[in-house]
């Protein structure tokens, strides 16, 4: 009797437009429709505009001849190469400046972060002045100052500043001796690879022995010795295959040697000093997050100050430091696109030139966004992996 009641079980009492599930479905359908309609409207406009302007579509232009020069090329490139190759050159330049910038920013940041916690009043004040000044001035302004004021004030090639044997600094850039790889370089490289493998094996062995017997092994010094001596031995045995080509000082220009463009130096200086200020704050917070009891407990166990720092404090501080550090590395990589303001030929700059020449804005922007997105995802994937290695291993 009860089963034949007026309200079947499982049915809600409310009218259907008050049912939250129906409402949710309805809201989503409306949003989806709006988004699709908006996208369709924009796409149809774009197609119409492109037909009107007579712009080609598709990615065929990547194989056409680029016809413009790029001032810094780490792979073979001149104006007869294709647009695709030009993109690649720009991408490599972005990588190059980002990697060098990240290395310097990390070094500056760690030094300044530790210095801010120094018991020495002067050192702490200098470090905090650095942080407070640099992170409150726009990066673009800093890059422009580095490029146009600091490096733009360097002397002409004729009055180059000599910084040592074959190292010259002038308005055209920093000139360094260029290594020339002669015959037998392969033997040297093999020695380097061998040294790295030997160090890795040694570390595993030392760790096993330490866990089994408790006897420590001076891994650091032994590794250093292997890393220096083995390649050196290979170098001598191969008959010293690497020679250096020194830059020659001419009247108007310097020929030969390895050149670091002023654009590149300004980028590295600006990016690393700006990002270094943020990293310094992260490092400071990371060290402050370690409780005093950790130090005291480590001393009570008989560890030395160095061991405490290396085995107790830094591994724990890194856990606090790594996630925000990742976003700083990401920021630095994305900020390298500001190179466009000082003519550093990074990816964004090259993409802008290609867009001007071909007029295919949609394709160029799509490629640009895809590249920066994958760069970002790549860096965060790597840092997540590193973070997972460092993370607290719980029982």
């Amino acid at each position: 009797m009860a089963a034949a009641g007026p309200r079947p079980a499982g049915r809600s009492r409310t009218v259907f437009w008050n049912d939250p599930r129906v409402r949710a479905l309805f809201a989503q359908a409306v949003v989806l429709l709006l988004v699709i309609a908006g996208a369709a409207y924009l796409i149809s406009n774009t197609i119409a505009n492109r037909e009107r302007l007579g712009v080609a579509s598709g990615f065929d232009f990547l194989w056409q001849v680029a016809g413009f020069d790029i001032s810094q090329t780490l792979i073979d490139y001149d104006r007869t190469y294709s647009y695709g190759r030009a993109f690649l050159v720009g991408l490599i330049n972005t990588f190059y400046v980002a990697v060098v910038g990240i290395v310097f920013a990390t070094i500056i940041g760690f030094i300044m972060g530790v210095a801010r916690l120094s018991s020495n009043w002067l050192v702490a004040k200098v470090a905090s002045a650095y942080v407070e000044i640099m992170r409150n001035i726009p990066l673009l302004l800093q890059l422009i100052v580095w490029y146009f004021v600091v490096l733009g004030g360097l002397p002409a090639p004729r009055e180059s500043i000599a910084l040592g044997e074959g190292v010259y600094l002038n308005i055209r850039g920093l000139f360094l001796p260029k290594p020339v790889f002669g015959e037998g370089t392969a033997i040297f490289l093999a020695a380097v690879v061998l040294a790295v493998i030997a160090v890795l094996v040694l570390r595993r062995w030392a760790r096993r022995r330490f866990e089994a017997t408790g006897q420590p092994f001076p891994v650091f010094w032994t590794s250093l010795a292997i890393l220096v001596l083995l390649p050196l031995l290979g170098y001598v045995l191969a008959g010293m295959p690497i020679t250096f080509e020194y830059p020659k000082l001419g009247k108007f220009r310097i020929s030969g040697g390895l050149v670091m463009l002023p654009e590149f130096m300004a980028m590295v200086a600006g990016l690393s000093i700006y990002t270094g200020a943020f990293i310094a704050e992260i490092v400071r917070a990371g060290i402050l997050a370690i409780q005093k009891g950790q130090w005291e407990a480590a001393y009570a166990l008989g560890l030395s100050r160095g061991q405490t720092l290396r085995l107790i404090v830094i591994p724990q501080a890194l856990r606090v430091i790594i996630p925000p550090q990742t976003s700083q590395y990401l920021n630095l990589t994305k900020n390298s696109s500001l190179g466009v303001a000082i003519a550093y030929p990074d990816f964004f700059n090259v993409a802008g030139t290609i867009n001007n020449q071909t007029g295919q804005a949609v394709e160029v922007i799509a490629i640009t966004m895809a590249v920066y997105l994958s760069l970002s995802l790549g860096i965060s994937a790597f840092m997540n992996w590193y973070n997972a290695r460092m993370a607290l291993v719980e029982r």
Partner: protein
């Protein structure tokens, strides 16, 4: 007898130990505590001496302020004459000189209208803020752009300098804040379509540099719109900046939302509150309070990022500094111009960061109680 005893007891009472730090003791403790600290102090002090003395000589002792052309400067030191003569352009850009009072008036109204927001006694701060955000743009637009109430029109390409920086930052902040909250709520929504749209937007925008977005706004927007429809260049930059910082704001707000315990949501639902009531009355007030420092940091980032509009050809404070440097009458004074612009940006960002630290301390004091 008793009197004597009391007297000797009084004599035995030592005066309280006051900490008297002499200069020498301070120096010894803070600068020369160990041999390597002493070495470090001397080294850093020497480096500072090497850097600061020439800078001080250049910027203050040998500097020129008098005169009204480059010829007044002797180039032994800084030529602040440039900044003095062109001060108006650094602040107002190319805004007509006889109309500058409008900018001053609008900014003064903004400054006065914002005072109640910082009064902790004032109860209706939220209502007031919402009202301000709705009403002020009309006031600002009328005064800045004109063409109404007998005010002559000043086209946006003439806007510039610090004034333009403040306009972009102000619009960016007021637009990105509500947008960011909506995106953060959308990202935590249980509706899959809305959640994935929000995630896609946030991650896409956060994954690319602001320059690409500004570039897209200035190059691609005309392609997206029907032929003949054209947006103001400033408008495009504003849309780009607002969308960009909304994505960052969303992540900050999401951090606050995640910190609210589930019990708060359940209690709100048990009281019969709907989604918007629960969000507006229970969740957001707590979540936003937690992330005020993060929000202010996003604002600081936005303020600095406004300088990027220079790249798409607007003349904000940095753009103006760059433009003035290229003036043939003032060639060779790049350092002075950029240092002045840097100082302008620095003042605002530093003030905001101090405010954020102040709020952080106040909030954590509340937590401790």
């Amino acid at each position: 007898m008793a009197v004597q005893e009391r007297a000797s007891a009084a004599a035995a009472v030592q005066p309280p130990v006051t900490e008297r730090i002499t200069v020498l003791a301070w120096l010894k403790h803070n600068l020369f505590s160990t041999w390597y600290n002493s070495l470090l102090t001397i080294l850093v002090g020497y480096l500072l001496y090497l850097v600061l003395v020439p800078v001080f000589r250049w910027a203050v002792l040998d500097a020129t302020v008098s005169g009204d052309s480059k010829e007044a400067c002797d180039f032994a030191g800084a030529c602040w004459t440039l900044v003095k003569v062109r001060f108006g352009q650094y602040v107002y850009g190319l805004y007509p000189e006889d109309q500058r009072w409008r900018v001053n008036l609008a900014l003064a109204i903004a400054a006065v209208a914002m005072v109640p927001l910082f009064l902790e006694r004032f109860r209706h701060r939220l209502t007031y803020a919402v009202g301000l955000v709705l009403v002020y743009p009309l006031v600002g637009y009328t005064l800045f752009y004109g063409g109404w109430l007998g005010l002559p029109v000043v086209e946006t390409p003439r806007w510039g300098g610090l004034f333009l920086t403040l306009v972009i930052a102000g619009v960016g902040i007021t637009a990105s804040f509500p947008l960011g909250i909506l995106l953060a709520l959308g990202r935590r929504s249980e509706m899959p379509v809305i959640r994935s749209l929000c995630v896609a937007f946030i991650e896409l925008v956060r994954g690319v540099p602001l320059v690409t977005i500004l570039f897209m706004a200035s190059v691609m927007l005309p392609l997206f719109l029907p032929a003949g429809v054209n947006f103001d260049k400033l408008m495009r930059a504003l849309v780009g900046v607002a969308l960009f910082s909304a994505a960052y704001m969303a992540e900050v707000v999401r951090g606050g939302l995640q910190a609210i315990p589930k019990g708060q949501y359940e209690a709100a639902m048990a009281l019969g509150l709907g989604y918007w009531q629960m969000t507006g009355l229970i969740v957001l007030p707590q979540a936003l309070r937690l992330v005020i420092p993060g929000i202010v940091n996003t604002f600081i980032g936005l303020f600095k990022d406004t300088s990027l509009v220079t790249i798409i050809g607007l003349f904000d404070l940095l753009g103006m500094a760059k433009l003035i440097v290229t003036d043939p009458r003032w060639l060779g004074l790049a350092a002075e111009s950029y240092i002045f612009a840097a100082f302008g940006f620095w003042i605002f960002c530093y003030a905001m960061s101090r405010y954020s630290q102040h709020v952080e301390r106040r909030l954590s004091a509340g937590e401790r109680r």
